[in-house]
Every structure is written in structure tokens, then in C-alpha cells.
Symmetry: C2
Subunit: 337 residues, 2 copies
């Protein structure tokens, strides 16, 4: 047994497996294509390194779930690579769709190589995810792999559905609060849910435990998004590293904003008149608080967090990896106890 915490052993293995999967494009004629992907993944180019790679939260969740079921997590490494590649495919296309020039402080792929290559780079990451699943072939029975593939494809359909809603909502001012959950379920919760569900299947969990793990990922995703929405308005900017007014100024249709619009009070009135200026953000967040949005968002965050932890307890994860899943959830959801 290693003295290192299990996450510190898993994370470098994830990076190795990802590099192995992306290396399918590493040949003379398509070297610049390979370079676009290694740049995006944070391994090459200006500003490369851990900061540019992101947290690899999804593959970590998947492999910890495998391990928490007493199965050798390394066998499932291609599945972990697949979910991270799916996540990054959606980021590359998202950056184009949002017209974003920066990601993690670096120029986005489409800004650097142009729109046409940017779309193709995203497509390439998606294809590599599919091929990674094929790589499970020698490690798991064929029907298990088909089950995993089906979950992943259904999740991708949820992602495109969520993306459709997100893009559609940008131009709407009459958005009802009920529309928040389907969008967030598609954009954030679906993939996290797939990670824990796939991890449970590859870990050999029984059907009831598989469902509990799936629910854990789902509620973890919802809780995480609601907390992110909360911090986007009332967060401590020193901790989050961004202005705590940015979501209001950016016009993001987060949960507190939808709540405020539903209330149709002073906040909604001003919101509908046009973009919020930086010097109005404090008074607008104050209005939201007075109208009950802060309390509501906190309650929703607590509710989703409770559901996530309840599902995890039901799944009953074992050993160091099981403890690491609790720790990860609590760190993500900001409960340091």
C-alpha cells in the first residue's frame, strides 16, 4: 500500500492515459492537429502546465468510484479518459459558441487556429472519446462495454440538449425558473452522473448501488452548479479569484437571477431594462437578497448537497477511495467539515 493519498496516485495516471489516447493523432501529416489538442489539454504551448489542465474532476470521480467498489481502478483508465475528452470536446465548442477568446488564462483553440480548425478540434476530441471506450475491449466483457457506451452516448445527447437550451435562453428575458433545472441537468449534472454511474458498473457494483452512484453524480452536479451560481453573486471575490459581481454584469441567467425575475420586483424591473453596469452590481445583488433570492439559492444548494451525500451513503463506497469520494464531494460543495 502506498503512503500517498489515492487521488495523488490516480491523477498522474489520468494524465498519462489521456496523452496516450490523444497520441492517436501524433503522426507526421496531422502533427499540427495533434498540437491543437495537446495545447487545449494544457500539455503544450504558451502557459501549459497543471493550471492549464483543469482539475480532471470527471475522470477522478469515475476512477475513485471504481476503486471504492474494490476493483483495480487502472483497468478503467480508458473510460476515465473518455469522460474527460467528452468534457473537453464540449469546452472547445462552447468557447466558439460563447465567442470566448480566453480559457484558463490562455487563448482558446479557435482564437489561435481559426473557427474552422476550432470546430474540427472539438470534433476530434469527441471521436477520441469514442475510441477510448473501444479500448476497454481487452479489459471488460463486451456487454459491459456496450452498457458503458450507451450511458456515455445518452449523456452526450443530454449535453447537446442542455447546450441547445443554454443558447436559446440567451435571447430570452421571460425565462421561468422551472427551465433552470433541465438546462443545468444537461450542461453540468449529466456528465458527472455518467462518471459515477460508469465507475460503479466497471467497479462491479450491483444494480442498486449503480443507481445510488448515478444519483450521487447527478445531485453533486446540481449542487455544484447552484453553489457556483451563489458564489457568482455573493461569493468572496478574494476566494473565487474573480469579481463577485461578474455574473450580474455578464448577464448570466443563474438561479438567483431567475428567482428574481420570477418575483417581478425591483430587480426584475431593472434587469429587463438592459445590461447591468459594474457600479450597479452591488445594489442589484442587494435587491436580490431583499427579494429572497440569496436564501432560496442557499436552500437549494443545501438541498442538492444533502441529496448527493445521501446517495453516496446509500452507495456505501469502501476503503481509501470511498473516503476520498466523501472528501471530494465536501470540498466541491464547500463543506470543509
Amino acid at each position: 500500500m502506498s503512503l500517498k493519498p489515492i487521488t495523488e496516485i490516480i491523477l498522474p495516471a489520468i494524465e498519462t492515459e489521456l496523452q496516450r489516447q490523444v497520441a492517436r493523432l501524433d503522426e507526421a501529416r496531422t502533427r499540427p492537429f495533434h498540437e491543437m489538442l495537446t495545447y487545449h489539454m494544457g500539455w503544450s504551448g504558451a502557459g501549459s502546465g497543471p493550471e492549464a489542465q483543469g482539475k480532471r474532476l470527471r475522470p477522478l470521480l469515475l476512477l475513485l468510484t471504481v476503486a471504492a467498489n474494490g476493483t483495480d481502478w487502472l483497468r478503467a483508465a480508458p473510460a476515465a479518459a473518455a469522460v474527460e475528452l467528452i468534457h473537453n470536446f464540449s469546452l472547445v465548442h462552447d468557447d466558439i459558441q460563447d465567442n470566448s477568446g480566453l480559457r484558463r488564462g490562455r487563448e482558446t483553440v479557435w482564437k489561435k487556429w481559426g473557427l474552422a480548425q476550432g470546430i474540427n478540434a472539438g470534433d476530434g476530441l469527441f471521436v477520441l472519446a469514442n475510441l477510448a471506450i473501444s479500448d476497454l475491449e481487452e479489459r471488460f466483457p463486451a456487454d459491459t462495454i456496450l452498457k458503458v457506451a450507451k450511458i456515455l452516448h445518452a449523456t452526450c445527447l443530454d449535453l447537446t440538449r442542455g447546450q441547445f437550451l443554454d443558447i436559446s435562453y440567451e435571447t430570452r428575458t421571460d425565462l421561468p425558473i422551472e427551465d433552470y433545472w433541465p438546462m443545468v441537468a444537461g450542461k453540468t449534472a449529466a456528465l458527472l452522473s455518467a462518471c459515477t454511474h460508469i465507475g460503479a458498473i466497471l467497479g462491479g457494483a450491483d444494480e442498486a448501488a449503480c443507481e445510488a452512484y448515478r444519483d450521487f453524480g447527478h445531485y453533486l452536479g446540481l449542487a455544484f452548479q447552484v453553489r457556483d451560481d451563489y458564489l457568482g453573486i455573493w461569493g468572496n471575490s478574494a476566494l473565487t479569484g474573480k469579481s463577485n459581481k461578474s455574473d450580474l454584469v455578464a448577464g448570466k441567467k443563474s438561479l438567483p437571477v431567475l428567482y428574481g425575475l420570477e418575483k417581478a420586483g425591483a430587480f426584475a424591473k431593472r434587469w429587463q431594462e438592459g445590461p447591468i453596469r459594474g457600479d450597479e452590481a452591488a445594489s442589484m445583488s442587494q435587491k436580490l437578497t431583499e427579494e429572497g433570492a440569496q436564501l432560496y439559492t442557499q436552500e437549494m444548494s443545501d438541498q442538492m448537497t444533502d441529496l448527493a451525500l445521501k446517495a453516496l451513503r446509500l452507495a456505501n463506497p469502501q476503503g481509501d477511495a470511498g473516503q476520498a469520494l466523501y472528501d471530494l464531494a465536501q470540498r466541491l460543495l464547500g463543506r470543509e467539515s
Copy 2:
């Protein structure tokens, strides 16, 4: 036995299966998303109908191959839908990458619904293709489906490689003729090859026959592309329905053009000075003919056609479907005998 030719029975079944696959998005919240896809597939919106649907060549090839191996082709319908969905995913992204406003005489998806939704619509078609493969589950053994999935994913990697080369080549004037084949192999031949290969596997062909079918699709794709390049410069515009000068004026790096550039003669000199005007097209195609490009392209087309038909004979397709495969190849390659 039906009195109708087999292709006339298969084609409506392809359309039905495609609609069933795309209907996964037909629900209240994502109805406009579903509409983007049914519009692109030629089933809804202005100008819908057979003309807008295209020839469905790829699924037809796949199902004819299944039938030519004595297997009930209808069982393989989801695989046929998958290859057509992959083809259409690439068309939707291609239209954005090429900045094309029209496809088959109709407004393109991204022109109609915007860039962000256009990218997402293409992604959606890709996901639906993956899900269609999962639908083979109840009809074929799990290891057969994994084999099919792997071929399709590897093909998609070839498509994105070909697309990368195509986009890269747009800005290059020094393109060697050897670079033509990898691009065309990725962009055109890979998917046709996957169709006949997958059809042979699902039809239960032995390994040697599977390889012969795969080669048939590959050379059919190359022959088809070379012939298309030929017609783009020396074709009878009355037959092709487009100006026979268009490829030169459009600046397309087709095989005759790359041959002319390699010759570094009068054609290459003028080409490198900038875009060809409409009134120069006749003299430029004349230059190409004089420098041997017409003969060379014709020879390449004949060579690839021979290789395709040789592979098909080796595969030894049976029955009405077998005859239909020969007919289809000959019609595609312009040999009416």
C-alpha cells in the same frame, strides 16, 4: 419476392429508420432543436422533400452489402442510419467551416439558426449516430457491435484528419500531389469503406470477404472523388447541373489542379498569381489538358474504378442485392455498361 428492385424497397426503410433515430430529440423542451435536424435531413421546412434529402448512398451501400451476404438487411437498419447521420454531422460542420450559405439549394442550418446552434446541431447528429449503433444491441452479438463501433469511430478519426488537411490546404499554394490521396481518403473514401465493411460484418461475411468489401468501398470512394474532380473541370455542365468551370474559379485543389501545379508550367504560373476569373476558365482548363492533367486524371479514375470493381468481384456479392451493388458502382463511376 417483391417485384420492385431491391434499392426501391431499401430507400424508404432508410428514411423511416433515420426519422426514428432523430425522433430521440422530439420532445416539448427541445422541439426547435429537433426541427433543426429534420430541416437539415430534408424532412421539414422550406424546400423539404427528396431533392433536399440527398441520395442516401452510404446507408444504401451498407444495407445492400448486408443483403448481398444473404442476411436480412432490415436488421442492420440502425447501422445504416448511423453512417448517414455521421455523413450529415460532417456536412453541417463543413458548411460552417466553408462559410457556405446554401446546401442542395436550401439555406444551411447555421445560416438559418446561427453559428452556435449550427455547431450544436452537428454535434447532435454525431451523438445520434453513436446512439443508433447502441440500438443494434438486441439484434447482433455484443462483440459484433463493438467491432462495428470501432470501425465507425476509426472512420470518424479519418474524417477529422481529412478535414484538418482540407482546411490546412486552403491557404497553401505549394501542395504536392502526394498530399491529395490522404485528404481524399479521409474526406470521402473512409466513410464509404466503413459502409461496405460494416455491411459485410453484419451480413456475416468471412474475414477475407470483409476485407474485399472494405477495399471495394475505399476504391469506390477514391474513384468517385477523382471522377468528381474530372467533371468539375471537363464535365458537361448540362449533365452535372453546374458550370463546368466552377472548380477552377472556386480555386478548389482538385487532382487536375495539383497535377498542373506539380508540372510548374503555364497553368501553375497563372494559378499562383491569384484567383481565376470566369472568363479565364476555358483557357486554364485548356492549359491543364495540354500539360497532361486531363489524361492523368482520367487514368487515375479508371485505375481506381478497376480496383473497386476487382474488389467487388473478389467479395462475390450474391443475388439481387449483389447485382444492385455492381449497378450502383457503375452508375456512380459513370460506366453505364
